[in-house]
């Protein structure tokens, strides 16, 4: 058990260090595969350049004006900004990220997008979300859940902060079958 926890902490640190070490996102080429031209026109170029997701959770979330949204692992803020446009100033968006530098990027991009009045970025971990029970209508995340060594714990935290009837919309990569062990055990493959 203690060994498991040590292993989980090692993974968390490896993931955090990996994301702390990058100087750019996946960039516009990848963003164009995931988002429509109209969606990309809604976000500043910096947020597009910093996109690191693997899907488009906002498109599927069917957000309504006035809803309170949490973006888990918000990175440079592309989905937080898209969500903020949909919920409007009657709603709110919180981007949560383990890295303060990602939160800083999110804040800068939200300010450029003009949605900073109802969008904030907080440093925190998905396995221990710094929000009260039942305070959120919709949780979105993009390319993040796979990074947790404690996925059930992270999902239980998401469940806790949602209001009754609240929704999740999460994009991630799934792998069916085995990957060769050299790849499955590679730290950059885990973090990526």
């Amino acid at each position: 058990m203690a060994k498991d926890l040590m292993f989980q902490n090692e993974i968390k640190e490896a993931v955090r260090d990996a994301y702390a070490g990058i100087s750019t996102g996946a960039g516009e080429t990848v963003a164009r595969w995931l988002y429509s031209d109209e969606e990309l026109a809604e976000v500043p170029a910096g947020a597009v350049a910093w996109a690191l997701g693997v899907g488009n959770p906002v498109r599927y979330a069917l957000l309504q004006p006035g809803e309170d949204v949490l973006d888990v692992g918000s990175g440079g803020g592309i989905d937080s900004i898209l969500a903020a446009r949909r919920v409007g100033p009657q709603g709110s968006v919180i981007g949560l990220d383990i890295l303060e530098e990602m939160c800083e990027r999110g804040r800068r991009h939200a300010t450029e997008a003009g949605v900073n009045g109802w969008t904030q970025f907080r440093r925190g971990e998905m396995e221990d979300i710094p929000l009260p029970d039942g305070s959120i209508d919709v949780v979105i995340s993009n390319g993040v859940m796979n990074l947790s060594a404690r996925k059930s714990r992270a999902l239980a935290e998401i469940y806790r902060v949602l209001r009754p009837g609240g929704r999740v919309s999460m994009a991630d990569l799934t792998v069916e079958g085995e990957l060769p062990p050299e790849i499955a055990n590679d730290q950059s493959a885990w973090a990526g």
């Binding site: 990996a18 994301y19 990058i22 100087s23 750019t24 996102g25 996946a26 960039g27 080429t29 990848v30 595969w33 690191l52 693997v54 899907g55 488009n56 959770p57 599927y60 979330a61 859940m145 796979n146 404690r150 996925k151 059930s152 714990r153 999902l155 239980a156 469940y159 806790r160 949602l162 209001r163 009754p164 009837g165 609240g166 929704r167 999740v168 919309s169 999460m170 994009a171 991630d172 990569l173 799934t174 792998v175 069916e176 990957l179 060769p180 050299e182 790849i183 590679d186 950059s188 493959a189 973090a191 990526g192």
Partner: protein
Amino acid sequence: MAERVFAAKLQGVGFEDVWVGGHRPSGIDEASHYPLFTEEVIELMRRTLPRERHDHVATGVVVKARKPRTRGRTKRTT
């Protein structure tokens, strides 16, 4: 994580109406755009994965679910 494992984990903590859609194949060329994948790991993938998997190593999905309106069961997890 496999798709059914993801769905089962959501149900395991109390979510209902779990839906998985938006399937999109993701291959080695796509992975090479992400800064987290080093050149070495991209090269390793090309070397160790069979050619027919190069364009489809993983599948991008969107998973949706809902917290029950009435108080559902919440499992404590560590």
